[in-house]
Every structure is written in structure tokens, then in C-alpha cells.
Symmetry: C2
Subunit: 245 residues, 2 copies
DNA sequence: GGAAATTTTGACCAGTTGGAAAAATGTTAG
DNA sequence: CTAACATTTTTCCAACTGGTCAAAATTTCC
């Protein structure tokens, strides 16, 4: 329901402060990390752990989550879990790395040769699908943002920024060609992120407000319809529309 | 740059489960809680603590925050802090209660006798101002939502829902009168929440993407302009606009 | 000034948390 | 079967956590 292997992007020189004694002997018998090709069984266990960790981290954030909790959800003992991931941070890093990749995929697919409205519409749709199908990933990301993104600043300041810059340029071109209302392309992108991820991150609120009646999967359909209308109307290249007050 | 006292709204009958032993003697010498009119000095100290707690809770969530952290930010010892607030949960509850009240004020002011676009525009503006002036409150709220709103379910399921229902009805009336594009009023409200709070909750991301150049307070001006355009255009009562793909 | 009340501090505690060590239990290839 | 390896469990620990308590320092009020 959520797995999907994503290539992990290492942050080479992070080097956090060490306060615990453990440091030297890393190639001991315990972790199966050293060079080995990583058997299929190991991969499976790691996936189980990552699954469980996603559950926990996405709800409580990094500091609010405990290894014990994750181990319990994963159905194994804490030391056993630590056999696969030498430390808590490592699990979290793996999740974040995997997340960033999938999370940006829809934006990467934004095609400058396509029709502006088709592109925007399908971008919205894909982001909304992700909010529906991977809410935990969305919340993990949101948690990270709320905490000031301590572990991924470089990622968002470099990779993400570059990607958005690129797509903003495309939007600007479309605006110049009169195929799209002239506005700030960055805030346009922000607004798509915000409106779609809202359905994952604030799910409880959305459900509560919509009431027991209307909160099956249908709410995503409604959201899609509404957002489509809002953005299609809102961004159509027309001078002015309403001028009251 | 952020202070501004907010009137606190008490939740009378929350009654959470007790698991710690402390329970009986509450009128002991320690806490200045019993009946006393609460001196001005006490209020000041409590405010200092709440300020500090807002800093910490809004970044790390409830579980991820420690009393020691809060005490340090507040510039006092942990036992001293605990003298004013007998337990961690109490501080958090106070913050949340205060928050909810201010947070919903703009929506309460939504006036059915006003002009639809004027009302929506000023609602957006006010929400954006709150995201700018009270980002920590916004993040505290977001953190609570991400965790499934365990401490405020009743609040959002009852009070919030009722308020939104009421305002949705107003929006529907306007739509019936042809003064507003016909759409789902609930999702319309969600989209305003999402787009405005985004600037508080995902502040790091917004700053990073906009780059060092354009991230002074100006970004809120730009956001306001963009959102105004999006919503004013997007919700104007016109049949169809673009029909490609 | 001094007794009473308030506020602050220092020492302490039981439970939790991240993690280490090593022994115990599989598993597998020769 | 058994040596080499992989996995799991048991035991343990030091630091941190929320919170208590009594004594000390300070303020308040007569």
C-alpha cells in the first residue's frame, strides 16, 4: 500500500556532535552493514522497519518518536531493530531521503511543451493523489518543515529551489505568451502545494468539518473538482473580473 | 514582533486520564493555584512560561518538547517552572485554548451582509496577517493536527464544525444569488486555510525557495497579491473560461 | 523589624530512552 | 554433522524525562 523503493540520497558531510561514547569500532559483528551485498531477507526486514517508522515518525515527529514504539509496530524487539539500523537517526534519514524523491516527481514532470492548463491541472491532480495515497509521507515532510527542516536544509535550499526556479521560468514564459494569467509563479506553486497537502496533513480537521456523512474517499473527488475550478478560473488570462469595494 | 496577549478560553470539562500518582493534595503549599486572586507577578511569570512554551511546542510538538527546554528558554529552573504549572500538559492545554480562540476569530467575522468578494478578500488578508504575525501559533496548531488532534477533537468536531457549517451556508446563499461562483463552500474554506497557513507552517521552505534575495517581509505582500488574484478570479460567477484538453 | 506568605533552589526519584555487549539461537555451505 | 555466518534475545547502562519535596531565599504585610 505504500512501499516503493526510492533511491536514497546521502548527505556526506553532516557530522553531528557526538556525545555518546560509541564511535570507534563500527565494523563489529553486529550490523550487516559492512560491504555485504545485503540479502533479500535483510531488505525485507528493513522495509518492515521503515514502514513502521513511517507510521510513528509521521505522527509524532523525530523527537516525539521512540525506537521502542517503532519496534513494537514493526513487531520486533528494540535490539533486533537496532541490529538493522544502528541508530534512530539513520531510519529517519532513510525515510526522508526516499520521501523527497517521490514528493518532487510530479513537479519534475511538469512539461514546458504541454498546454499550461493541462499541465497545471494534472499537477494538481497528481499532488492530490499523493496526499490521498501517501498521507504519512506528507505528514513526515510537514513535521520536518515545522521543525525548521534541520535535516534537509541543503536539500530544499539547493535541489528544491533549483527545480522550482526552473518550473517558475516555464510558467513565466506561458504568462508572457498570454496563455496564463500574469502572476507570481512561485506563489502559484506554493498555493498548489498548500491546497493539496492540506488534505493529508490536516486530514483530521477536514474529516471533522465535513462531518461523518461526507468523508469517505469522496472528499478527494470534491477537492479535485473544487481546486480544478479555482485554479482554472483563477489563472485564466483575463484582465479583470470583479471590482467591488 | 510577536507578543500580543490573547485571551484564553478555558475548556471546562476535559478531564484526561490520570496515570501518575499525584492527585490528592492539590491545595498544598507549592502551587499558587488554590482560589487566590493570582497576583500580577504570577501572571507575568506564567506569561513568560507560556511564551517560552510556545516557542518550544510549536517546533517540536508535545511529545518532542521537554520541560527542561521550556524552562531554559523561559530563563528559570525546572522546579520553578513546575511551581507555576503543575504539569507539562497544563501548559500545552493553556496554549491550545488561547490559540483556538484567536485562530477562529477571522472566520467568525465573516459577515453575511457584506459583499462576497470583499468578505473573502479580507478573510484571506486577515488569515495571512495571522500567519505572518503569529507563526508559532500556526505551527502549534499544525503540530496538533499532524498528531491527530488528540487533545482537541471535541473542539474541532463541535465548535469548529458548527462555525464552518454556518459560514458555508452563507457562501451557498451567495452562490444561489449568483454573486459567487458555484462551488463547494467547504473546500473553498479549506483552500483559504491551506494557502494562508502555508506561509507560517512551511516558512522554511518558502524562504528557501524564494531565495535569500526575496524573503524579507515582502513575501507576504506578494502572497497577498497573488492569493487575492487567484481567489477573486477563481471564484467570480462566470460559467466557463478555458476548455483545453 | 519580624512573622507569614510567596518564590526559588538543590537534591532526589522512578520510569523512559537510545544504545551496547554478549550470549543464544538459527541458517547454510561444505 | 559442523564450522562460519546471520539473526534474535537477554541483560544491562548512562543519560534524560516528568515530577516531588524540603529547605533556603525572597517578598509582603503588619
Amino acid at each position: 500500500m505504500s512501499g516503493k523503493k526510492l533511491k536514497a540520497v546521502e548527505h556526506p558531510p553532516v557530522s553531528a556532535r557526538r556525545q555518546h561514547k560509541a564511535d570507534a569500532k563500527a565494523a563489529a559483528t553486529h550490523p550487516p552493514s559492512r560491504q555485504r551485498p545485503l540479502t533479500r531477507i535483510q531488505k525485507e526486514k528493513q522495509d518492515i522497519i521503515l514502514e513502521a517508522a513511517l507510521d510513528v515518525f509521521s505522527m509524532h515527529g523525530f523527537r516525539g518518536s521512540t525506537i521502542d514504539q517503532i519496534a513494537e509496530v514493526a513487531g520486533m524487539s528494540k535490539p533486533n531493530l537496532l541490529y538493522y539500523f544502528p541508530r534512530k537517526e539513520e531510519i529517519h534519514r532513510r525515510l526522508i531521503a526516499a520521501l523527497l524523491d517521490t514528493w518532487l516527481a510530479p513537479l519534475r514532470d511538469f512539461d514546458e511543451n504541454g498546454d499550461p492548463f493541462t499541465e497545471i491541472r494534472s499537477y494538481i491532480r497528481r499532488k492530490l493523489e499523493m496526499a490521498r495515497d501517501f498521507p504519512r509521507e506528507s505528514r513526515l515532510f510537514a513535521n520536518e518543515m515545522l521543525q525548521g527542516a534541520p535535516r534537509i536544509t541543503e536539500m530544499i535550499e539547493i535541489d528544491l529551489k533549483a527545480l522550482v526556479d526552473e518550473k517558475a521560468k516555464i510558467l513565466l514564459t506561458w504568462m508572457d505568451q498570454g496563455r496564463l494569467a500574469r502572476t507570481d509563479p512561485y506563489h502559484l506553486i506554493f498555493s498548489i502545494w498548500a491546497t493539496t497537502q492540506h488534505y493529508a496533513d490536516f486530514d483530521v480537521q477536514v474529516r471533522a468539518v465535513l462531518g461523518k456523512g461526507r468523508n469517505g474517499e469522496g472528499r478527494f473527488e470534491d477537492a479535485a473538482r473544487y481546486l480544478e475550478q479555482l485554479f482554472m478560473h483563477g489563472l485564466s488570462p483575463k484582465p479583470r473580473v470583479n471590482g467591488s469595494a
